[in-house]
């Protein structure tokens, strides 16, 4: 249980203890995933609905498989081809889904705060699968899980997050989660893509990628959306990759055993060179596996709300 919380909207408003309890539970889930028979009864009889207002392949599939492995009834709603296209408000859509007996509602929306608007209005547990530029908590949890699995700890590590910080909900959730667990977070990227007031979040801001990478234990690059170039945030993809991309040479600023991470999908040759993506330090594919485990853990813990804690005296 997450302190009897109903929803997971972000890492900014949960405690380090809650994060640790999700990570701990995800270890068990990962063990289950390694079995031939992955079916468990954790969510038997429960209904899980994914409501995605933005395109997604991996996050959506990850949640769907996670719920199916735990025997939940799952359904998916995409923004197009539904009442959404007919002009129904988000609140009405969410209440309708809730009224059908949904236990867990997984939401992705292009506008920051959308799940925060819905959560108090529905009985279902709401899991934020990404809201605008605000948060993507399960992505950060799987990143943190992966780091902890490889490095054995989070506290005292130096994590460099590079690229488009401004538009990144992944960066924000990672910053909240990692700093709560005692990591040092450094961000770097073009100054047009670093939002104001970052230092007040407890991170160090660098104007160049290589400075952010110095002695890092983890190098996490963020996806750059190529249409940002048209908005004048950087001059060209070519220039971006030259000054802000991470290739083998630039990666040497980090520690030799630094992990290479990316939330995907990667623009090869832009954020990372292909040799870095496919190199020995890359844990990008393991992040995907861990994503399923972490999402199983989150759904399971939220579903246990209101039940007696067997560990209590």
């Amino acid at each position: 249980m997450l302190g009897n919380k109903k929803d997971l909207l972000g890492l900014k408003d949960i405690s380090a203890e809650d994060i640790k309890s999700i990570l701990h539970n995800a270890e068990t889930m990962k063990y289950i995933l390694s079995q031939k028979n992955k079916k468990t009864p954790h969510l038997q009889g429960r209904s899980v609905v994914t409501l995605f207002y933005e395109n997604s392949t991996r996050t959506r599939l990850s949640f769907e498989l996670a719920s199916k492995y735990m025997s939940a009834n799952s359904a998916n709603i995409a923004a197009s081809g539904s009442s959404v296209a007919k002009g129904e408000t988000l609140i009405d859509t969410a209440k309708t889904i809730d009224a059908m007996g949904t236990d867990i509602l997984i939401m992705r929306h292009s506008m920051s705060g959308a799940p925060h608007l819905i959560a108090p209005l529905v009985k279902a547990s709401v899991i934020n699968a990404g809201d605008g530029m605000n948060e993507h908590p399960t992505q950060a949890l799987l990143d943190i899980f992966t780091i902890r699995e490889k490095k054995g700890r989070i506290e005292g590590l130096k994590v460099a997050i590079v690229g488009d910080i401004y538009h990144s909900r992944v960066a924000r959730s990672n910053i909240y989660g990692l700093t709560k667990l005692g990591a040092e977070v450094c961000v770097g990227g073009p100054s047009t893509l670093i939002p104001e007031g970052m230092e007040q979040m407890g991170v160090k801001v660098f104007k160049s990628v290589h400075e952010a990478l110095i002695d890092a234990d983890v190098v996490m690059a963020l996806r750059i959306q190529l249409e940002r170039q048209k908005k004048g945030l950087f001059p060209s993809v070519r220039e971006y990759s030259r000054f802000f991309g991470v290739d083998e040479k630039r990666l040497k600023f980090a520690k030799p055993d630094a992990l290479v991470m990316h939330p995907g999908p990667v623009n090869r040759g832009v954020e990372f060179s292909s040799s870095v993506v496919d190199g020995d330090q890359s844990v990008i594919n393991e992040q995907v596996t861990n994503g399923v485990a972490v999402r199983m853990a989150v759904m399971y813990l939220l579903s246990r709300r209101g039940q007696v804690n067997e560990n209590s005296n």
Binding site: M111, G132, M133, M198
Partner: protein
Amino acid sequence: MKILIKGGRIIDPRNNMDTVTDIYIEKGIISEIGTDLDPEGLEIEVIDARGKIVAPGLVDMHCHLREPGFEYKEDIESGTKSAAMGGFTSVACMPNTNPVIDNAAVVKYIVSKAESLGYANVYPIGAISKGLKGEELAEIGELKFAGVVGISDDGRPVSKSGLMRRALEYASMFDVTVISHCEDMDLVNDGHMNEGYMSTYLGLRGITRAAEEVMVSRDILIAEATKTGVHIAHVSTRGSVDLVRQAKKRGVRVTCETCPHYFTLTDKAVDGFNTNAKMNPPLRTDDDVEAIKEGLADGTIDAIATDHAPHHIDEKNCEFAIAANGIVGFETALSLGITYLVNEGVLSINQLIEKMSANPADILGLNKGSLMVNRPADIVIFDTDEEYTVNVSGFESKGKNSPYDGWKLKGRVQYTIVNGRIVVNQGILL
């Protein structure tokens, strides 16, 4: 109706009056101001104003009454009732209605509707450009003769500098005040709140202060170059206050207003995606609030306007990015001024009244905002010590979109008298 206001502290900044005395009103006109008045005659309504302040009816130079076109948000009746509850006897309403106030017919409709209701004097502000499109000048001469007291494309900036220059020059011929909503849309870049730590923390697109300041600066320079005047609407940043202060020192004919939310709230109020803290310009930071107070105190900021912007609940109960901008303001403005400016020592009560009555009236060229014998009796009476809790469900406005719900404020309006008629009596709308 004959009314005798007894024993109140009468504050009339324009006439340098601050004294305990009486006012006698007959046939809608202030007929006498003096001590121990004891008029003869029957059916005189006596208001015991001892311990209370009696001031010129408040003048709001910037509000949205939404009629015609958006009556589901507010109409002239609900809007002027709300104004009366807040002590406003004269309000100037912005032209972003449907149809837009860019022709004489709409002006006359609004004025006659308001006159028939009688809750407040309503003065329409016409559009600068036809249809608020920012392309061609509206028929400013015709608007003036139909009764507008100023022109503005409020809600939208006049992005073309050349058009703004022509508007200032052309309007000056007709002695029409030009009110500029300053916002460089290219810098706004689809932002939804002030740019800073809070926008980063909430993952909302930020609006840099420069978006406002660039256009404040532009309009001051155009007014200076063309030897015309300009009024800057809803100033929200330290930079804008500084620009206006420097321009006034150079002798530029620039005036400006701010709104209560810019001296009482910061962008921290947006936390939790609170759409009642979404407005344009956006709430800024502590430093800007400090600068607004300094500007009010040293006279850089001439007026306090409400920017009363009622919206339907569905337009606020939604995702932050698509929520409507603005808050209702009539029914909290005076109390916010008393609680956060007078009681904190920023302004004297006399200065507050001046910035909420005489100064805005002067900027618009209205013969309002002071207490003169033989002039229509527009009066507000309030008790600066009376504390109350704001309850939006009790607002007369159709809009309940206020960030102040539940706030404890001082200085509730007890009486509002419009053209010699009591419309609010002991805090209750008649």
